[in-house]
């Protein structure tokens, strides 16, 4: 079975621009979570979606938004990019089992110049 997939792999944007990142969960997984990992830090939770509804939101500004589609894939959108948004953006999918284990995708490396 394919794991979590994310696109694009790398992205370079200019300050003030907007970006959309995409994630496809493992087949059968209905929950998708997004994390931001700045170099040298642990991942920080941004959003969690389950069955197309937002179920959690981290401490990120309103410039960050996300949605989940009927096929459970997800998009993360960031508006008005700042230099500080440069990071590895990780998507994780989960199956609603007892462990709630999250399986992470390869990530999208975003560089804002």
């Amino acid at each position: 079975d394919a794991g979590v997939t994310q696109s694009p792999t790398h992205l370079i944007k200019t300050r003030g621009q907007q970006v959309t990142l995409r994630c496809s969960p493992i087949s059968g997984h209905k929950s998708v979570s997004w994390y931001q990992q700045v170099l040298g830090q642990g991942p920080q939770f941004i959003f969690q979606y389950y069955e197309k509804e937002e179920r959690g939101r981290g401490n990120f500004p309103d410039r960050f938004s996300a949605r989940q589609f009927p096929n459970y894939s997800s998009e993360l959108n960031v508006n008005a990019l700042l230099l500080g948004d440069s990071a590895l953006y990780l998507c994780a999918s989960s199956f609603r089992g007892s462990s709630y284990e999250q399986y992470f995708g390869p990530g999208t490396r975003l560089t804002v110049t």
């Binding site: 929950s31 830090q41 642990g42 991942p43 969690q48 179920r55 989960s94 462990s99 999250q102 995708g105």
Partner: protein, 112 residues
Amino acid sequence: ELKVEQNPLFLSMQEGKNYTIYCNYSTTSDRLYWYRQDPGKSLESLFVLLSNGAVKQEGRLMASLDTKARLSTLHITAAVHDLSATYFCAVPLSNSGYALNFGKGTSLLVTP
């Protein structure tokens, strides 16, 4: 606010030696996760600990969970170079959800 603290943050150890990484967290949780991350790569799940007293072992790594002390340990036995990576522990932001709060990570370097 849930805090997850790991120590040490940096660890250089010789091959063949043993060491323990500690993960403390500030609120009650019955689940704890350990992940490994190689440079420039994503997170690889190592262990899922689901109850007090849980112990899991895989190769040279063993993880345990003490929910009363809010402490998890990752013990490395007879380290080898291939274990060089960054190790993260993570605790759910709420017991009913999937979102995780990660520690800052322990960067491990195993040298000959």
